[in-house]
Amino acid sequence: MLRRKNAVPIRSAHIRESFGDRVFLVSVYLLLTIVLLVILYPLVFVVSSSFSSPLAVSSGRVWLWPVDFSLRGYQVAFSNPQIVTGYANSLYYTVFGTLISVVCTVLVAYSLSRRLLWGRGAIMFFIVFTMLFSGGLIPTYLVVKNLGMLDTRWALLIPQAVAPFQVIIARTFFMVTIPDELAEAAALDGCSDLKFLWNVVLPLSKPIIAVLVLMYAIFQWNAYFDALMYLKSDALQPLQLVLRGILILNTFASGTMDPEVMAQRRLLADLLKYTLIVVGSVPVLIIYPFAQRYFVKGMLLGSIKG
């Protein structure tokens, strides 16, 4: 609508959509509606199933809406110690992993955004090159092993700490938002680099920190492979790994050999799967509205570099 203001008023106001254009537009709307439904249906189906009764799910009566609304699935899910531990572990890894990652990323990205820094091009290349070539799975595993990190919490916090892509978008942000003149002026006033960073840059960096936090947090919450590779003890397993065990490998902590309990359990098995899917995605679902705004900004920043 902005361009209307600048265009010649009379002409723009009277250019009508041709018939062909209107057909085109209708088909676009149609296509988008189909896409919307295709994406939406599985999500709605899964959530509905999770709120249905065990019997309804097992007999396949659920199509779109919950059948025989019941919270049974959630009851069972949250009373399972494996799942509760998994949740706690995932929260731990997400909070601390994100903290470590964001701090390291912001520090290096800010430094690299200062044009006065000699060698910044080389350092940037050093970092970005790792996006193009890597040593591979086993060599990285050996490093973690030789550092004694196997089967410790550190194995999930450090080996994936800094993502080159995040460094790129953070650096772009700093280059655009904190002009060198500002830093130089502060330096003239006797302000050290670090003080400047802490007192001036950080308060101005809320948008990019939000993007970094979101991207790293989502990555941490959803990750399972590093845990699969590096962890052995059950007590350290993040939620995704627990879910994998139950949902994909079909193992389920069975405490009893009581046939009745086991029969009940079989009935619950299908419902439980849907419930666990929802349970495993809850934090993501909560953050999603906030993520929306900032992610689009993040992609905009990233595509500037692109």
């Binding site: 902005l2 265009a7 250019i15 041709s18 062909g20 254009d21 085109f24 537009l25 676009v28 709307y29 296509l31 988008l32 896409v35 919307l36 994406i39 599985p42 097992s58 396949g60 199509w63 390291c104 990323t105 520090l107 200062r114 820094l117 000699w118 060698g119 970092i127 193009l132 070539f133 040593g135 591979g136 799975l137 086993i138 060599p139 990285t140 050996l142 490093v143 700490a161 800094v162 460094v167 680099d193 670090l194 960073l197 959803n222 990750a223 995704q240 879910l243 994998r244 949902l247 994909i248 299908d270 495993g280 995605s281 993501v284 999603y288 993520a291 992610f295 689009v296 595509s303 692109g306």
Partner: protein, 332 residues
């Protein structure tokens, strides 16, 4: 400013002795001078790059050095540097192994399938969204389409398994209701690639479209006006204004995708694998994982992984050069 000061100093000093400074001497001196000056003045900034740099050295570059075990017979006791050399033995073993061709075929066909389907669709989605007026519908479609991106791989694969389950899956239920036979989707090797690719499209198209939407929003409005004045229909506008506008971004993404052709996402394939579809689902990355970590065949697995990385690098360079030649756009 600083550079000219240095030059003046040098030439002043040398001028006194009557010798004309060589320009190269001038450059070397001012470069080193710049470096020392920068280090001294901004030592704090250099300091704070250390955590990240240390990370990259330890967890990205040292593994590259460790990859040397691909040319050795790695012995856990002797360590990386103490293990005896084995030359190209592991590579030969790998290339001569009949499974090599299966792995290559599976990996490549999966990647290419994903590329052919997954590359144009987000562009199409972005173009469509761009045509729609801003409002509730547009925001709804946007929000919904990129929601699936945030679902974890484990949850995503679980959904696939549940929805496509031969016994209770919604799809098979629907087929049954319409009178068709149920299909064992996940046990059929021929369907593996399609399941993998289309579920990937479902999950990531909305998110990928954002990049293109961002690019589209950066197109000069004057171009649209010119098109309208020239009597362009919406379709023409897309062809002549929108598409050229997003081409740079599209090319970059294409380069990155092709450059990763052999490194197709391990996580999802691994979870979708089962003994029934293994003929089609065993890819290079899963093979490396099984050989290396599960069978502790470290040197061999590293050789395979190295092969993977090197081919990717070559592909990246090739595609980037080609893209540069054809469209002036490239990664570097």
């Amino acid at each position: 400013m600083i550079e000219s000061e240095t030059v003046l100093d040098t030439s002043a000093a040398l001028g006194q002795s009557g010798v004309r400074p060589l320009s190269s001497v001038r450059q070397i001196t001012s470069q080193r001078h710049l470096a020392m000056k920068s280090l001294r003045r901004h030592w704090q900034l250099y300091l704070i790059t250390l955590p990240a740099l240390l990370y990259f050295i330890v967890f990205r570059y040292i593994p590259m050095a460790n990859a040397v075990i691909a040319f050795k017979d790695y012995n856990v006791v002797k360590g990386i540097w103490g293990s005896p050399w084995a030359g190209l033995k592991h590579f030969e073993l790998f290339f001569n192994n009949p499974v090599f061709w299966t792995l290559l075929k599976n990996t490549l066909s999966l990647s290419l399938y994903a590329l052919v389907v997954g590359f144009p669709l987000p562009i199409l989605l972005a173009l469509c969204l761009n045509e729609v007026r801003d409002g509730l519908f547009k925001r709804l479609v946007q929000s919904v389409t990129y929601a699936p991106y945030f679902i974890s791989t484990v949850v995503m694969v679980s959904m696939i398994i549940l929805v496509l389950s031969a016994r209770l899956g919604v799809v098979n239920q629907g087929l049954g209701a319409l009178g068709f036979n149920t299909i064992n989707f996940l046990g059929d090797p021929n369907l593996f690639a399609s399941i993998y690719v289309w579920s990937g499209v479902w999950q990531t198209s909305g998110y990928a479209a954002i990049v293109y939407l961002a690019a589209l929003s950066g197109i000069d409005p004057a171009l649209y006006e010119a098109a309208k004045v020239d009597g362009a229909s919406r379709f023409d506008k897309i062809r002549h204004v929108d598409l050229p506008g997003i081409m740079p971004v599209a090319v970059i993404i294409l380069i990155l995708t092709v450059g990763n052709l052999l490194s197709i996402g391990f996580e999802k394939v691994y979870l979708l694998q089962n003994p029934l579809n293994q003929g089609a689902s065993e890819i290079i990355a899963t093979y490396v994982y099984k050989m290396g970590l599960l069978n502790a065949n470290y040197s061999f697995a590293t050789a395979v992984g190295l092969f993977n990385s090197v081919v990717n690098l070559i592909l990246l360079v090739l595609v980037n050069t080609f893209a540069r030649r054809v469209s002036d756009v490239g990664l570097w």
